[in-house]
């Protein structure tokens, strides 16, 4: 029998905002491996870089045994960062894209970023798209790959809840997550293919290493992958979310979905493995229409409202969630379904304020600052 720990790690990225112009000044990102906040080296703001580098922001190991510990740690990191920003006279926002900033984020430079990510000796994957990375502990590596295969199916559903990047360079893109489009234009991103074992996956990674296609396994950035160092599955399909409770709800849902897949396996069952092409259809619908669209139930071959299918998923993982003591956070997903995702909220704020995009930034700031 397998007994994964289902440990939780949450890595967030925060945008640093000039309070007057609302422009993006830089960003900070969390790293499991380095146990501290990492400042973007090319940050436009020296003062900010100094503040963070002065070392006050050691966030410690982010590995948490359950959602309650994860909640404490997430709020701890966020309030530490907010205090720092306040001291420096900045704002922070947590969202998939900045609504209008052109700071190094011009579309034309996408190619250069992609090139940099390829050519540089360190991970310089900096298109200005901000994603949430969630780690769930599964110690057995073959089991991790087995879960990775089946988990792919529910990722678009969960992603839908997180969408928070409808704007890009000041335009309403008409999509709910433009970040996903930006990310997926990098190599080795998006929904991964099927791997028959951890050995099969390692073969793939080793081939890339041997042929100098990648300098290290960190360059493999599919929506779900086994971590290159830790015994976790890393899920990176989600947009950064402004409100911390949304982050916890989505994290709890992912943890419960992983546990559900393992539970099926322990009963000699398996969620069906669908072709990547089919799962990618749902991801496309998720990034285009968010919660308002339809997703496809490939079991019954019907296109159904995303909300219906997400409710169904919530019902199916509820028993496991109770065992994981996470339901009090997970059930916030129902509130999100009624309220809409951050993307829906942002578009509404924009329309209510005569298409004033600065108001969207203000809204994001206040959502990010919420601690209750």
């Amino acid at each position: 029998m397998y007994y994964p720990s289902y440990n939780i790690g949450i890595e967030e990225e925060y945008q640093v905002i000039d309070p007057t112009s609302r422009e993006l000044l830089g960003y900070v990102t969390q790293s499991m491996a380095r146990e501290k906040m990492v400042v973007n080296e090319r940050t436009a703001n020296v003062e900010l870089a100094e503040l963070i580098r002065s070392g006050t922001v050691g966030v410690g190991t982010p590995v948490c045994v359950d959602i309650n510990e994860a909640r404490d740690r997430l709020l701890g990191v966020r309030s530490q960062m907010l205090e720092l920003a306040q001291a420096g006279g900045f704002h922070l926002i947590a969202a998939g894209t900045h609504p209008f900033s052109r700071w190094e984020g011009r579309e034309e430079t996408l190619a250069q970023y992609r090139q940099m990510a390829e050519d540089a000796q360190f991970v310089a994957r900096r298109i200005l798209a901000f994603g949430l990375r969630i780690h769930i502990g599964i110690e057995d590596r073959d089991l991790a790959v087995d879960v990775m295969n089946t988990l792919r199916y529910v990722l678009p559903h969960i992603f839908t809840l997180s969408t928070s990047s409808p704007f890009w360079l000041g335009r309403n893109t008409g999509l709910k997550s433009y970040r996903a489009v930006l990310m997926d234009s990098l190599p080795r991103t998006g929904i991964p293919g099927y791997f028959s074992s951890y050995h099969d996956y390692r073969n793939y990674v080793d081939t890339l290493l041997r042929t100098n296609s990648i300098p290290d396994a960190r360059r493999i950035m599919y929506d779900v992958v086994p971590h290159y160092r830790f015994s976790t599955l890393v899920i990176r399909i989600c947009d950064m979310m402004p409100y911390y409770r949304d982050v916890l709800a989505v994290t709890a849902l992912l943890q419960a979905a992983v546990a559900w897949m393992v539970d099926l396996r322990q009963r000699n069952l398996s969620f069906r493995n669908y072709e990547r092409t089919l799962i990618a259809e749902n991801k496309w619908r998720a990034l285009r229409y968010g919660l308002d669209g339809n997703l496809i139930d490939f079991g019954v071959e019907q296109s159904l409202p995303a909300r219906t299918l997400i409710r169904e998923l919530l019902e199916r993982v509820e028993p496991i969630s109770h065992k994981l003591h996470s339901w009090h956070e997970l059930e916030h997903c129902y509130t999100m379904l009624e309220r809409g995702s951050s993307a829906d909220q942002q578009v509404a704020v924009w329309k209510e304020n005569g298409l004033n995009i600065h108001k969207v930034v203000d809204f994001l700031v206040s959502e990010t600052e919420k601690t209750a």
Partner: protein
């Protein structure tokens, strides 16, 4: 034993219509539209989403000689038609500097539909490709060929690269088009389909669930055409010179013949994972023929030029059997002197960064040999 595929050949190209004064893209197609019909033109001029884009296709041809004649006629026809209106034609996969944000969309309901569905992504799709159809009547063999031929597509993309610029900037890539198109769902390297049943199931599921109306909305780099008995190769940037387009079409034709002959001998080229083929595809977009690509048989990096030469050696017999060797001289020219992308970058540098000179260069090369 299945019958030899007919290997008929047809080429579709998407052209840019240019204002010779400003060198910007210029609306064109609406001048010939009456309702949703194109009128006053003796050819099947297909409107595209963007008004400055025109697609033309040759008839089904039996030989490469014949398709060359047709492609030359087609380009000449369009150049003449444009010139009558005081406009020019350029064959390159991106316009060096025109902005997609400023391009009017063709006022036909089906394009309004695409725009509604794809939003900003559709507007950004200001890119121009070449599609080559090769006749394969046996569907099982067409699917079989799609799986294995995926391996060679990055090599042909490298040869065709013609989109180093985007929105007035050097992108650092040789084919920026191939990146832009990947933002669309159902694009890029094809997935492995083991049987015709697999393919039919996939299309069936997508149609039944309302994702697509039919197989024409699968935009993979290579696909069985939803109506014609052909395998359609869609990976290439449009070639600026007509001779280059013909040479690449010749490679596709010879490849299919080679694979068919292998199959008669119970041999197949190995089928590699999409993830691995994508590595070569990226290298082709990024470096064209100047980079290294991976030989996955040996798991070694090799110069792209060496791998292209190896590919030509592999299909050497078939090239002679089809009598098309004289058309493949253009490949040797590309290997020696670079692709359209390389030439555009040279013109740009020689003219001290004057991007309009690149447009003039493209207009001139597009007419070469007509």
């Amino acid at each position: 034993m299945s019958a030899r595929p007919s290997l008929t050949i047809g080429i579709e190209e998407e052209y840019q219509i240019i204002d010779p004064e400003t060198r910007e893209l210029r609306s064109f197609i609406t001048q010939f539209l009456d309702g949703d019909k194109v009128v006053m033109v003796e050819r099947d001029l297909k409107p595209e989403l963007h008004q400055s884009m025109v697609e033309l296709g040759t008839p089904v041809c039996h030989t490469l000689d014949q398709v060359k004649e047709e492609l030359v006629n087609q380009r000449r026809f369009l150049v003449d038609l444009a010139e009558q209106k005081g406009l020019s034609v350029a064959a390159a996969a991106t316009h060096p500097f025109s902005l997609w944000q400023e391009q009017p969309v063709t006022p036909l309901p089906r394009y309004q539909g695409v725009l509604e569905e794809m939003q900003l992504l559709a507007q950004r799709l200001l890119i121009f490709g070449m599609h080559v159809h090769v006749g394969i009547e046996d569907r099982a063999f067409a699917i079989d060929t799609m799986n294995v031929v995926r391996y060679m597509l990055p090599h042909t993309l490298a040869l065709s690269t013609s989109s180093p610029f985007w929105q007035g900037r050097k992108t650092g890539l040789k084919s920026y088009r191939s990146l832009i198109f990947e933002d669309f769902p159902r694009s890029g390297t094809a997935e492995i389909c083991r049987t015709v049943g697999d393919w039919d199931n996939l299309i069936g599921t997508l149609v039944r669930t309302g994702c697509i109306p039919d197989g024409s909305k699968i935009w993979w780099d290579c696909r069985p055409h939803h109506k014609y008995p052909t395998l359609e190769f869609r990976i290439c940037d449009i070639c600026t010179k007509v001779d280059e387009a013909i040479a690449i079409a010749g490679i596709f034709q010879a490849l299919v013949l080679w694979l068919w002959k292998l199959r008669q001998k119970n041999i197949t080229f190995r089928v590699y994972r999409k993830e691995l083929i994508d590595e070569n595809r990226w290298r082709a977009s990024r470096y064209g023929i100047d980079g290294k690509m991976i030989d996955f048989g040996k798991t070694e990096e090799m110069p792209a030029r060496a791998l292209v030469r190896e590919l030509l050696d592999l299909i050497c017999e078939e090239i002679d059997e089809l009598g098309i060797r004289h058309h493949l001289k253009a490949i040797e020219d590309i290997l020696m002197h670079g692709t359209s992308a390389d030439r555009q970058l040279r013109v740009f540098d020689a003219n001290e960064g004057d991007i309009k000179a690149v447009v003039d260069h493209l207009i001139a090369e597009t007419k070469q040999g007509l």
